[in-house]
């Protein structure tokens, strides 16, 4: 496996970044059929998330480098993962807060209209903002000082802010997902935050419809209808058509309420992909399956062509383990906890192995080189 190399990147090329239990990898293709997988120099640490940001004339990779011993760092690279820089002022809590950074869960580029803005979500649950493309970072105090914060409880992965959805239609509005708090929205640019969990279940609590305490796993915004959101939850799959004020369960005939990832076809945004799992956090039944709706969650269909099945198949996919590209038909990418990257170049109709024998995959993001 040759190391990653940015010099040969071409416009139109598809680049998948894989954050894994042991390092960050790149997987590239010019035809979405044959793939080249390469390690970066970010090696040996837990990379929960990485993203290639092409806004503002840059081609910058941001990565969440969660060390086992010597701390957690956000790093960025302008040479496709060969060398890395640390922020001048990184993600570190004020000493007087009594908090210490555990893991960085997500790095989310801001809106296209604000090319220097980047967001990060971490554990303990908090939102961080950079307005200079990752060089300096600040804590969002509105969420950090939320009056209910002392009552927030962690999920199995810790009390983590893992989902950030900057509204593409309103620079003052944003949603975040926290486990196990749920969906939280700001309408005033992050000064104040309100829970938006109505009709989403917390089946593991005595009151299954609390104001907060839900275990939201992943949430996305419809690319053109700004009030439409989808979320995969610990307890169901949901859609909102009013910006999160109300949620409707769209699990329908999916065989399990539990799953982590969810993804949208950006060119056909009523098409949504998800994966649900059994109690053991593996594929439901003996066939590894991606599920797709093409009508916004009215009906789901099973996609299995090229995906493995059989008595020995036990694959899990984490919350950041699925992504879609901007081609049409869209590519769909699924990374497993057993180190396979499955890819589809036809909107999920058929699948092939794009990379294998990797460490357990934590995150999959994809970019088409501009």
């Amino acid at each position: 496996m040759a190391s990653s190399d940015s010099t040969a990147l071409r416009s139109g090329e598809t680049v998948v970044l894989l954050g894994t239990k042991r390092g960050l990898f790149t997987v590239r293709s010019r035809d979405r059929v044959t793939w080249e997988c390469a390690p970066t120099t970010l090696d040996g640490t837990r990379v929960y998330n990485a993203t290639l940001d092409q806004r503002g004339g840059r081609r910058r990779i941001y990565a969440a480098d969660n060390g086992d011993f010597f701390g957690t760092f956000l790093r960025y690279s302008d040479d496709f993962g060969q060398t890395w820089q640390e922020p001048e002022r990184g993600i570190q809590f004020p000493e007087e807060s009594g908090l210490s950074l555990e893991n960085i869960w997500l790095i989310e580029p801001g809106r296209p209209t604000e090319p220097n803005v980047v967001y990060a979500g971490v554990a303990p649950a908090s939102l961080w903002v950079s307005e200079d493309a990752g060089v300096t970072w600040s804590l969002n105090e509105g969420l950090a000082q939320h009056p209910t914060r002392s009552e927030w409880q962690p999920g199995a992965g810790g009390l983590c802010l893992h989902t950030i959805v900057p509204d593409h239609s309103d620079p003052q509005r944003m949603w975040v997902g926290i486990s196990a708090v749920g969906c939280v929205r700001t309408d005033d640019g992050g000064k104040t935050w309100q829970f938006k969990n109505k009709n989403t279940r917390a089946g593991f609590q005595p009151d299954i419809y609390p104001e907060y305490g839900q275990c939201l796993h992943r949430m996305l915004q419809h690319p053109t209808q700004s009030n439409t959101l989808y979320q995969q939850n610990h307890c169901g799959v949901y859609r909102s058509d009013d910006g999160g004020d109300n949620w409707t369960d769209i699990q329908r005939d999916l065989p399990s309420e539990f799953g982590f990832p969810i993804a949208i076809d950006p060119g056909h945004p009523d098409t949504v992909f998800t994966i649900v799992e059994n109690e053991g956090r593996n594929n439901f039944g003996e066939q590894f399956t991606v599920y797709r709706t093409r009508d916004g969650g009215e009906q789901w269909e099973s996609l299995t062509e090229g995906l493995p099945g059989g008595g020995g198949v036990r694959l899990g996919v984490l919350r950041h383990g699925m992504a879609t590209d901007s081609h049409d038909p869209c590519g769909v990418y699924v990374g497993t906890n057993t180190g396979q990257l499955f890819a589809s170049a036809d909107g999920g109709e058929s699948w092939h192995v794009a990379a294998d024998f990797l460490p357990s995959i934590y995150s999959v993001t994809v970019a088409v080189i501009e």
């Binding site: 011993f69 010597f70 701390g71 990184g90 004020p94 000493e95 807060s97 908090l99 950074l101």
Partner: protein, 105 residues
């Protein structure tokens, strides 16, 4: 022509300790494996390390100032966790080893 005089070696003005740094932090230390710093308590030594290699303190300590749970510091072979932690005094001439906890089994 008068031969130039060779200056006498200068004695250290401050009692010093030798600190061995772990391989995992060599990117931070510019591949430097050890450094001599002024004696003091362990907290002041970490401050000196952070001055020499900016950011190193965050590798060793959380924001709260506490030593990270899987970082061990030995002063002349004694783990500071079983003494006064970062308040442990480090006498001149001591040797400090910074290592991470055993992993893998």
């Amino acid at each position: 022509m008068t031969a130039p005089t060779t200056p006498e070696p200068t004695a250290p003005t401050t009692p010093s300790v030798l600190v061995h740094l772990p391989a995992e932090l060599r990117a931070r230390t510019g591949e430097q494996a050890s450094i001599v710093v002024a004696s003091g308590d362990m907290r002041t030594i970490i401050a000196a390390l952070d001055q020499a290699f900016p950011g190193l303190r965050f590798n060793l300590c959380a924001e709260t100032g506490e030593l990270r749970p899987f970082v061990n510091i030995f002063i002349d072979g004694r783990n500071v966790r079983f003494g006064s932690a970062l308040d442990t005094p480090v006498a001149a001439g001591s040797v400090v080893h910074i290592v991470h906890s055993v992993a893998g089994g």
